[in-house]
Symmetry: C2
Subunit: 112 residues, 2 copies
DNA sequence: TTTATAATTAATCTTTTACTTAACTATCTT
DNA sequence: AAGATAGTTAAGTAAAAGATTAATTATAAA
């Protein structure tokens, strides 16, 4: 069945809030670990390990410059999340809209 | 800082492929556990435990009918995923488009 | 060349996750 | 009432995830 190993799974990678934060920080552009560390309450090894997870999931790439390591976002794998959301959202929307309709009937017309 | 406990986190809940599959199955409508089990290679307790995770994340609700338990999708918490994707996708798109541009320059014009 | 800096890797520990088997609860059928 | 059915809860275990401290690598500065 060839399932992708958990440690390369993008759903898994974004499951931890610390890693989502890292991705968000990297939207500012390529940054050295030291910069990431500033906005981040964790020891250097913990940070490094989270970055490794992101790297294995293909979400970041690393480049060395002097003694710094610069990380940049490579967002392509996030497409898988986006696709999953998109392919199911159609259903949710109907579902949630139906709930909205129900609530409007029940409580009056908050948002005609 | 009031972080939501991991066992109620929707990102965590959808991180496991088995749970994503359950959500997808439930798009067909409310179903008893036995129906879910058919499309699902797992022992009853394993299935039950995955359903519990989904329930704690607010993604499904359970209703008893005779000796069956019917589960239905309550997709509202998935909005958090959708919002996260939406709020970052703007950035990815630029990033990926830029890469596309780069590739076009480099390899000729696959998709003017 | 020694020392400092930036960050990772290694080793270890704790906690959480996922799964399993066994026992249990509730309902339905006979 | 005695099974059978549907599913959960409990208890135990193994593996994975996350964090920590200590050791290591590579580069830069003194």
């Amino acid at each position: 069945m060839n399932r992708r190993p958990a440690h390369e799974d993008v759903f898994q990678a974004i499951a931890h809030p610390a890693r989502r934060k890292l991705l968000e920080l990297l939207e500012k552009g390529e940054l050295p670990v030291g910069e990431l560390a500033k906005d981040f309450h964790a020891t250097p090894p913990a940070l490094s390990q989270h970055l490794t997870v992101l790297k294995k999931a293909g979400l970041v790439e690393e480049r060395r410059q002097g003694r710094q390591r610069l990380y940049r976002l490579t967002p392509e794998p996030l497409q898988e999340i986006s696709d999953w959301v998109a392919s199911h959202k159609a259903y949710w929307v109907v579902k949630l809209a139906a709930l909205g309709g129900y609530l409007r009937q029940k409580h009056g017309n908050p948002k005609t």
